[in-house]
């Protein structure tokens, strides 16, 4: 047993750092260092740079453009990329639909979609949740009726992140309303967002931004060859996908980046007549988070290393630990960054600042974004399966209660 990175792993980490330093476009870097979310074009440009290097399809086999990294290397890459901070690989493409197609897709589906997903030529979104089917996903109602070589889809999805940016959507639909078990009547479809009958309605979230959407399907025609895996076996696909989603969701690098941002800000604000960074209580709060991040980092390496050795391909129920602890940390670190901003955490004033000052007021801009991050990441314990549901999974699958 050795918890340190091997010399090779360390060299790998340095290589990743150097590559990001040398290749991340400057304006993307500067915006993200102030806490802004990457814009669509930032995410696309960066994923294409990574893909050219062979570093986009990180969990895919080599024949589909994967880099052939170990599970530990993948985690190193993800964490470094988040901590940089650089735009994250689009998870819908890389963590979700890619592995699904590799596991369940036809050859035609793989060759049509995988290269484009890796290069972000297609932006994918996830059409699972519905108004009545959140935690209880199997209650979904969006119906797909077979008519010749098409399905006709009717219904609606909600909370569809980035649907307004998306070219394609993977959608869970009900193909057999009379199945003995609800899970047995569900299929997994690939839907072109340009198909007639699809309407996307924006939902503004509490951070004032537009990430979320409602997607309506009104007699939407989907060719049968856009079904992944067998009809009425879509639940197996969804379970596989959600297991992958949970592992990727810890976002330790993002937590690290938020703590770094808080420390940076704390150097230039004053508390009790001294820089805040010198305040004992502030430092203890930072250290506590660093302790928690260390524990999670090691747990995460344990889970992925064990996963790499397992042969059944099933997700480890311990991935729920990563999801709960990772999102608690994300929330605690964004909270720290917001609290560090003090009174500047309150205003929404980017526009006024730009008009008022001759030079950018970075501390104030970063403060506004710190609160934006805090607000949006209240959702981290909701999406990807709520933290209550994760604990239910642990209770049942691990503790057998």
């Amino acid at each position: 047993m050795d918890l340190r990175l091997t010399p090779e792993e360390r060299a790998f980490r340095d290589e990743v750092r150097a590559f990001i330093r040398d290749n991340l476009p400057t304006d993307t870097r500067e915006r993200m260092r102030l806490g802004y979310s990457p814009r669509k074009q930032d995410t696309v440009a960066w994923q294409r740079i990574l893909n050219k290097k062979g570093w986009a399809a990180i969990s895919w086999p080599k024949e589909w453009g994967g880099p052939g990294w170990s599970a530990v290397q993948r985690m190193i890459f993800i964490e470094e990329n988040q901590a940089a901070p650089a735009p994250e690989l689009l998870s819908f493409n890389i963590t979700m639909i890619g592995p699904v197609l590799i596991q369940f897709g036809t050859e035609a589906q793989k060759s049509r979609f995988l290269p484009r997903a890796a290069n972000l030529d297609d932006w994918w979104c996830q059409g699972f949740s519905e108004p009545g089917a959140g935690s209880d996903l199997a209650a979904l109602k969006t119906a797909a009726k077979r008519e010749g070589d098409h399905y006709i889809v009717n219904g609606s999805k909600i909370w569809t992140s980035t649907a307004h940016n998306a070219d394609w959507c993977f959608v869970l639909v009900r193909t057999n309303p009379n199945a003995a078990k609800r899970q047995e009547g569900i299929s997994f479809l690939l839907v072109d967002m340009k198909t007639p009958g699809i309407t996307v309605r924006p939902i503004v979230s509490i951070d004032g931004a537009h990430h979320l959407n409602e997607v309506f399907f009104d007699d939407v025609k989907v060719p049968v060859e856009m079904r992944v895996y067998e009809e009425n076996r879509g639940w197996d696909v969804a379970k596989f996908l959600l297991g992958n989603e949970r592992t990727g969701i810890a976002r330790l690098g993002k937590s690290r980046e938020r703590v770094a941002a808080a420390k940076e800000a704390a150097r230039s604000v004053r508390f009790n007549g001294r820089p805040l960074i010198e305040d004992a209580a502030f430092r203890q709060r930072v250290v506590q988070l660093e302790v928690d991040m260390k524990a999670l980092q090691i747990t995460q390496y344990r889970v992925v290393s064990a996963g790499a050795k397992k042969s059944d391909g099933r997700p480890d129920p311990l991935s729920s630990v990563l999801k709960v602890k990772g999102t608690e940390l994300l929330q605690a670190t964004t909270e720290l960054a917001m609290d560090t901003a003090g009174p500047l955490a309150m205003p929404i004033w980017a526009q006024e600042l730009a008009e008022m000052a001759n030079e950018p007021d970075m501390l104030a801009e970063a403060a506004e974004q710190a609160t934006g991050n805090y607000l949006f990441l209240r959702a981290a314990s909701i999406y990807g399966g709520t933290n209550e549901i994760q604990k239910n999974i642990l209770s049942k699958a691990v503790l057998r209660l």
């Binding site: 209880d136 805040l276 500047l344 309150m346 006024e352 959702a379």
Partner: protein, 376 residues
């Protein structure tokens, strides 16, 4: 001890509850946000009619002679309705400064005008670099031609954009952090050399950045250089008022979440039938009640004559209701799931009001440090 309200207080609370229930629904509020000022002039008029704008002022100044408990009752209702109007800024903070430190003539000129609804004030004290330190004032005031000339800048001045007059703190002598040497000045918002830029806070209430370049202040409140005590008391009254508002907001979040847990079904049954949800709702209730106790402590301490004891109690209260509000609001969103994250739904607005209250007049870390310095 006595936790009962008087008949007059019950009447007051009922009348505000009715007014807000009739006129300040969530949809109506959306319209108020869109007004130029970011709040409703019509509601301001109704507050004046009900006597709310003169509530803490003496009867000779067109007021009701009410105390902190009366203000608490009003603020609690404002917290439930997420009222946007500059009540805190005008009546509690600006009006409070005039009431505490103004001369008889100044009080007679200003307080009745506030009570009638014709004059709005803002308390322009905090500065960009001061964070929460009340004595950290770098704006200067120099004597000139029998008046005072102010130079400096004020930051995140609550409702500073719609005030007619500003109560501005400025240093007449001493070093940056010295509590001694600060004065409070009355400045017309339209005064030459005064520039202000308004913006929304996260909860849709308004604030402003204010810069002062050679601004002539005709009037000073109290003795030059001796305003720190007044500033501290004004802020304490502000904390107490916000505590009540936080209670109103928490109550609403708690009851909305409870109701939601009874009606939202997943896995074929209301989510509130899950024991983990039941326990969470119980924890929210506990936090609300503890927070309410602390808001009461704040209200009851505003008139405490011993300054050190008053400051201690107010800091304890701010920590207590601030933490309670953070817990209740985070759990309110969590138990609502996705819908709680949306701008369209009310819970997120209460959440952000609680966030702004927590970061105003000293956050938890600030008040903890203040109390920690005194541990014996």
């Amino acid at each position: 001890m006595d936790f009962d309200l008087s008949d007059d207080q019950r009447l007051l609370a009922d009348s505000v509850t009715r007014l807000m229930a009739d006129r300040y629904g969530f949809e109506a509020r959306k319209g108020f946000v869109k007004q130029d000022t970011g709040w409703s002039a019509e509601m301001w008029g109704r507050y004046a009619e009900l006597g709310l704008l003169g509530l803490p002022f003496a009867e000779e100044h067109g007021g009701f002679g009410g105390g902190p408990v009366d203000v608490m009752l009003v603020m609690q209702e404002f917290g439930r309705a997420l009222a946007l109007e500059p009540y805190l800024a005008t009546v509690v903070l600006g009006g409070g400064a005039v009431r505490l430190a103004g001369s008889a003539a100044q009080q007679a000129a200003i307080l009745p005008a506030i009570a009638e609804g014709g004059l709005k004030l803002a308390f322009a004290h905090s500065e960009r670099e001061a964070r929460y330190d009340l004595a950290d004032v770098q704006t200067t005031a120099k004597r000139a031609n029998g008046g005072w000339v102010l130079d400096g800048a004020k930051s995140v001045v609550l409702h500073g954009d719609s005030a007619d007059k500003l109560v501005v703190s400025a240093r007449v002598k001493g070093e940056r952090d010295d509590p001694d040497g600060i004065g409070l000045f009355l400045v017309d918002a339209g005064a030459e050399g005064l520039a202000r830029r308004g913006y929304a806070l996260r909860d849709e209430t308004r604030a402003a950045e204010i810069s002062l370049t050679n601004v002539v202040a005709a009037e000073i409140l109290g003795e030059p250089g001796a305003a720190f005590g007044t500033i501290a008391r004004v802020v304490e009254a502000g904390i107490a008022a916000m505590g009540a508002e936080a209670v109103g907001a928490m109550e609403t979040m708690q009851s909305m979440t409870l109701e939601y847990s009874r009606t939202r079904e997943q896995f074929g049954k209301p989510i509130g039938t899950n024991q983990v949800v039941q326990h969470r709702l119980s924890e929210m209730l506990m936090a609300l009640e503890q927070g309410r106790s602390m808001a009461m402590l704040a209200a009851m301490s505003v008139d405490e004559p011993d300054a050190a004891e008053r400051a201690r109690a107010i800091s304890m209260a701010k920590i207590g209701f601030g933490q309670a509000a953070r817990f209740v609001s985070q759990q309110a969103i969590q138990l609502h799931g996705g819908i709680g994250m949306t701008e369209e739904y009310a819970v997120g607005h209460y959440f952000r009001r609680a966030l702004v209250i927590e970061h105003t007049f000293g956050d938890t870390a600030y008040h903890l440090a203040r109390l920690a310095a005194e541990v014996e």
